[in-house]
């Protein structure tokens, strides 16, 4: 149960308006949830939120830890300059930065004024040093080193690799960022800031991998006060928090190994809110039957997909990857997996934008169509012959004379994903490809198997922000883990690099979206990954709780947990 997340995706309408508005005002500014009116709530109480997997570590900016569950935990702990609202608009969080202005367009320069009250929970002021460290760690520039002289391993370098300088002034409370190339998605930067004075000592890559004193240092309304592996995370109000005090006295994240255990826990008031990765019909029916509970299903900025590891001798051949895509009946997968939950979902024809975003286009060029005969002819063209056992036999490579076989992996213990694998296995058998299934725990899949590219085919979901620039680390030409850390498939295409680079330096959102869509069309042709469907998000929470507002972006349900509380009578 689980999903991987990414700092990616961009809503043209929202980002475009914001990018233009930012030239004068820096976009909307207020407390993060100001776009919705917070209801009156009682002070105190404990609210328990269900997490459907444990975390791999506690550094959301690290390539190995960047999972959705960790984002849900860190939303109220790590400072974020801009907060994505449920309508995907960006709002400046004035608790951290009182203003963010584009003061020059050539070179693009952004000046941030840090809230003078802002301090880390250990008393150290939040300052320009934190911005400078954050930029260096995420820049992908090998001249900046982590503790021990190691290269930083950031989840995404998008935007940070276009910054020329970050300087502090005004006693460290003014930060000036000068870009070497224009960056339209500049509002995506400096999310989930880290305490530089701590990270410099313990290390960006390794210092936050286990629960230790470094992890407890918070810059948000809550701080992590306890963590029990596989069981729970407990957050309590940060005593040094300078903004409006959170209403809850405790925010507990209870970790579940099996989604089916969540409904009885909700029914018995042990869990108050949940947002499972996979909304199965069984789960939906179970929570819908619980009295005094609200359940919403909305399309998320999240999609299921299959990745093909091009380090594999056969998957390195585009014809083989295309054959797999042609042989996969995506409509059948959609009908069987999400059809019972919601009828509005169709096979996904774009991996940068979701159908609920205005920039979404069908860029598939027919490469996602179900066409088993074409799949077989592509495999024949790749020099394979059909064996008597119904499987193709390659003429060369490690499987020469044997069945053409691949292993598909996903997170173990998740029936919905396993059903996707089984449908895929059956589809592949009918076109002559043998598929073995080898699943791993979420921590192993996302902490080891994926990042180290120890797989043939892998099925999981990306959860996006509205910023499309965040997709670059997934599809940019792989050179090393510091530059394209999310490119687990080891894909490389200079044409895609060029289009991404152009899009990243394009301020005009319409033009940028066009470039991203052009890049996506090439990704379809190269069949780097096979998008399956936009994941419907199910949110369920008790009706006695106020201000629980679903957020379909990677911010998740806890984006405004500082305002959660029991309804005032």
């Amino acid at each position: 149960m689980n999903r991987k997340r990414i700092i990616g995706g961009l809503t043209l309408t929202a980002a475009g308006v914001l990018a233009l508005a930012a030239c004068s005002s820096g976009g909307s500014s207020s407390s993060p949830s100001s776009s919705t009116s917070a209801s009156a709530v009682k002070s105190g109480g404990t609210m328990t939120f269900a997490l459907d997997q444990d975390m791999a570590g506690f550094n959301i900016n690290n390539a190995n830890d960047t999972e959705f569950v960790l984002q849900e935990v860190m939303n109220q702990v790590a400072p974020q300059v801009y907060v994505t609202q449920p309508d995907l608009k960006q709002v400046l969080d004035t608790d951290y930065v009182t203003s963010a202005k584009v003061t020059s367009s050539s070179p693009q320069t952004v000046v941030y004024q840090i809230n003078p009250k802002a301090v880390w929970s250990d008393g150290t002021p939040i300052s320009a040093d934190d911005f400078i460290y954050f930029w260096q760690a995420n820049s992908g520039d090998l001249k900046y080193k982590d503790v021990g002289g190691k290269a930083f391993e950031p989840a995404s370098t998008a935007g940070y690799n276009q910054i020329k300088t970050v300087t502090g002034s005004n006693g460290g409370k003014t930060v000036t960022v000068v870009f070497s190339k224009p960056f339209g998605d500049w509002q995506s930067l400096f999310g989930d800031l880290m305490p530089a004075h701590i990270a410099k000592k313990v290390g960006f890559n390794d210092g936050f991998q286990t629960f230790n004193p470094a992890v407890k240092v918070s810059g948000g309304p809550f701080e992590i006060s306890a963590y029990t592996q596989g069981q729970s995370v407990v957050e309590t109000p940060n005593p040094k928090w300078w903004g409006a005090k959170p209403k809850l006295s405790k925010l507990v994240f209870r970790i579940f190994a099996d989604d089916n255990q969540i409904p009885p826990a909700i029914q018995n008031n042990e869990v108050n809110a949940a947002n499972p990765a996979q909304a199965s019909l069984q789960f939906k029916d179970a929570v819908a039957a619980i009295p005094n509970t609200t359940t919403n299903i909305i399309p998320g900025l999240e999609f299921q997909h299959m990745d093909f590891n091009q380090a594999n001798f056969y998957l390195a051949q585009v014809g083989v990857r295309q054959a797999i895509a042609y042989g996969t009946n995506r409509q059948e997968i959609v009908s069987r997996i999400v059809g019972p939950v919601t009828s509005s979902v169709k096979p996904l024809e774009n991996r940068i934008y979701m159908p609920t975003q205005s920039q979404y286009q069908d860029t598939s060029g027919g490469f996602g169509d179900f066409n088993p005969n074409k799949a077989k002819s592509l495999l024949t063209a790749a020099g394979m012959t059909m064996g008597s056992d119904g499987y193709f036999h390659p003429k060369s490579g490690p499987l020469a004379g044997k069945d053409l076989s691949f292993t598909i992996s996903t997170t173990s213990g998740e029936p919905v994903r396993q059903e996707i694998e089984q449908l895929f296995q059956a589809d592949m058998k009918s076109v002559g490809i043998k598929i073995n299934i080898q699943n791993y725990s979420p921590n192993t899949l996302f902490g080891t198997v994926g990042p180290k590219s120890e797989f043939d085919i892998i099925e999981f979901a990306w959860v996006s922000t509205p910023f499309a620039s965040g997709n670059q680390p997934i599809y940019c030409s792989y050179t090393n883990a510091g530059v394209c850390g999310e490119n687990w498939d080891h894909y490389a295409n200079p044409q895609v690099d060029s289009l991404f680079n152009q899009a990243l330096t394009t301020i005009d959102p319409t033009q940028a979206a066009s470039l991203y869509n052009q890049a996506d069309a090439i990704l379809w042709k190269d069949m780097v990954t096979l998008p399956l469907f936009q994941q419907p998000q199910l949110y369920t929470y008790g009706t006695e709780w106020a201000n629980v507002i679903p957020n379909p972006s990677n911010a998740g349900l806890t984006w405004n947990a500082n305002e959660w509380g029991q309804k005032a009578s």
Partner: protein, 327 residues
């Protein structure tokens, strides 16, 4: 009695030493911790060589055993493939499982003896048939089915009737609970359903042993003789029959304690507990599988429990049957 006890303890230590070597050997030969890496064409030989060295697999088996044993005797159970020391994790998991297993064994043993005796004394009566039917039902019902039924029906109804949560369905406690009394009641509330689940599965088998053993004894000549002597039925039952009938059951309980300690995995999973069962599961399904240090530590704890409880059973035999301690 003292000599008997010393002999049993010495035999136990020797058995444990042999067991430690056998389990080390079994783990060493039955699974290759590098198999997952070696089967993966994307992992370089250098990475595999480094992992081999890190896990000490480049050393002879006997040397590895000696190092493992020496470290273990000093409380060092090695390091998991995740880089975490196994000892503290093992201790934490053991405590969690004991929270479930100790009350289960005590309650199951009491229920089993009572039901076994009643069934035997009233053989073929309606109560015997009912108790036998229930025992077979609980013995054959999968643990997870019992767990789901308890969660969905018992917990929900009780909690609704009380007006707040007293029976918890997930975890061994509520994270962040403070105050000694709150922690106690909260832990108790979390323990009730898993203990009921495990007890239903456990008492069922034990009660059948007790019934069979009791029937054997009740038909024995010395019990008939006791009755013929004019002793009261109560005295015959409790002093002469039950005491002897407990001996086979004591063996089963002692051996099952160790089994439950390591094998309550389904109950742990059903209620989201992180005990010994899930510890083994993690060791067998982790990124480098098997996680040798974890599996060996788990086996060692279970082996120790088996031997300790066998000795305990032997001592109880001696208490229950004078012929044994005089032998």
């Amino acid at each position: 009695m003292a000599g008997y006890l010393i002999r049993r303890l010495l035999a136990g230590v020797l058995t444990l030493l042999v067991a430690s070597f056998l389990l080390f050997l079994l783990v060493a030969v039955s699974g290759n911790p590098l198999a997952t890496l070696m089967a993966n064409p994307h992992v370089s030989p250098a990475t595999i060589a480094a992992a081999r060295q890190q896990l000490g697999l480049d050393q002879p088996l006997l040397v590895r055993y000696w190092h493992w044993l020496a470290n273990m005797l000093q409380g060092d159970f090695g390091t998991s493939t995740t880089g975490q020391p196994v000892g503290p994790e093992l201790a934490s998991r053991l405590l969690v499982t004991l929270q479930m297993v100790v009350p289960t064994v005590i309650i199951s043993a009491i229920i089993a003896v009572v039901i076994g005796v009643v069934s035997a004394v009233k053989q073929y009566s309606i109560s015997d048939h009912v108790l036998t039917g229930l025992a077979y039902l609980f013995y054959s019902a999968p643990v997870f089915v019992i767990a789901i039924l308890l969660k969905d029906f018992l917990a929900t109804n009780v909690n609704q009737a009380v007006g707040h949560t007293v029976l918890y369905t997930i975890g061994q406690n509520t994270p962040g609970t403070t105050g000694a009394w709150n922690i106690f009641t909260n832990t108790l509330g979390h323990t009730i359903l898993p203990v009921i689940t495990l007890t239903l599965a456990t008492y069922a088998a034990w009660s059948r042993y007790q019934r069979a053993s009791m029937l054997d004894v009740l038909n024995a000549d010395y019990v008939r003789f006791a009755r013929a002597k004019g002793l009261s039925p109560r005295r015959v039952l409790y002093v002469h029959a039950l005491r002897n009938a407990l001996i086979p059951v004591v063996t089963v309980v002692a051996l099952d304690f160790a089994t439950i300690l390591g094998g309550a995995i389904l109950t742990e999973i059903a209620f989201g507990w992180t005990g010994m069962g899930s510890f083994l599961l993690t060791g067998l399904t982790g990124p480098v599988s098997p996680d040798t240090a974890v599996v060996q530590a788990w086996l060692m704890v279970v082996a120790t429990a088996v031997i300790v409880f066998n000795i305990l059973a032997d001592v109880l035999y001696a208490v229950l049957d004078p012929r044994i301690r005089l032998a």
